[in-house]
Amino acid sequence: MARETMIPIGPFHPLLEEPELFKFYVEGEKIVHAEVRIGWNHRGVEKLAEGKTYDQDVFLVERICGICSTSHPFAFVNAVEDVSGIEVPERAKYIRTIIGELERIHSHLLWVGLAGHFIGYNTVFMWAWKYREPVLDIFEAISGNRNHYSMFKVGGVRRDIKEENVPALLKAIDEVEKFCSMLTKAVMDDPVIQARTKGIGLLKKEDAINMCVVGPTARASGVEIDIRKQHPYAASDKVPWEMIVVKDGDVYSKAVVRLLEIIESVKIIRGCLKAMPAGSIDADVREIGIGEGIGLHEAPRGEVIHFIKANGSNFPERHKIRAPSFMNVASFKKTVIGESIADAALITAAVDPCYCCTERMAVVDPDNDKVIMTGEDLVRLSQQKTERMRSRA
């Protein structure tokens, strides 16, 4: 058995925006064994949530993740409304779905750009992020901020989309759709991208089911789950669209699923903007009853679930958050082993991990070397550690 060297990627690494540490035990270029050690991002959000009222909680929950910064409030608000069965006015439902879908577009575009960056194709990164700017401009027009839009409130929406700027939004959406379809064609049938992404990081269907993987990662392996279709909420079932499912589950199909979903989201937004009824946008909830509520939402990366236990007071007694990447990243055991180191980064990124959501990540440390240094010296420490590493028979 050749002696394995341990190649750490992270925790402070230009490739990954957030700190996470992948330890790959490689023989030459092939990965034999891999562990992930996260926990750098753990901020104890659930403990903080118990100290805040429902309204303050919306803002805290929004800061869990920057890219999907409306998924968590969406699920949280669904959960609280589920506790005491609050009915949300029609118009607020439409606005909520519009915000959710807009975010899906900007999150998927961001991922396509990053995937291009990972395989060293910076032109795709620049193009994808260039087309993402108009979407952020729409957000700024609607909510005043590029990312943390804080549009949600228990029982409704904080700001209304005024009638007169709907045509402007429709024009902007058409422009975004034109860009995205061009980008989709360019990326999907580029032979070299296919060479780099086809057939690697394969997640078979039964593995996907067994690991309970959610969202595009699951839909890329042929598992049909989409909360918007199966557990309809807000206006997700009032506008015609279809769910994208692809069979073969490698990195390429994960890209295909995300790109086609952008086009679907544009369809939903256009439908909602047209079919939006007038009326109030807030059911001004006075107090929350007693009981338990579960809120589901299809975030760009998969199903977000929030659990609320309310005891009648203004503070949630228990607030449990489970982000989609928490399930998706766990599937790295099935997809990374056996691939080459150059692909490892791409495969782990294929599930579009969002570590700030999943600060509940696992830490696996068989050699119990207690303190791991960072970046530079992590590398040196692991270098000394590889000397000490006993060669596995």
Partner: protein, 141 residues
Amino acid sequence: MKRIFKWAIGKSPWVFHLGASACNNCDIEILDTLTPKHDIERFGLILAGSPRHADILIVSGIVNRQSLPRFQRVYEQTPNPKLVVAVGVCACSGDMFRDSYNFVKPVDEIIPVDVYVPGCPPKPEAIIAGILKAMEKWKQL
């Protein structure tokens, strides 16, 4: 000779992004500064591959207990003269995660911070302005 070096470092500061546990919105805005709409390469800034190549450390997010020792190590490895720019309210003051049990201390008690860019997330224009303001410090090197 000093004057030439000061001119040179003012014109080509290389940036290394130090992402302590953030909600990665500031990280996305930092990457946004590289994109065509607000291109920082026209000021000569590039995202360096390792702290060894960097002149400016951009910090985003709060430092939790686990990443504290690693945080200091990366700071020690960046060669002088170096600057630290704290991007986002979390990096500047710890913001709403201050009273979490995993929060240790704000960034400026761990490493000396030169410029604070508040905002959640700060706009790319604000980040670029922050970096350029930080480079003024090199004038009186």
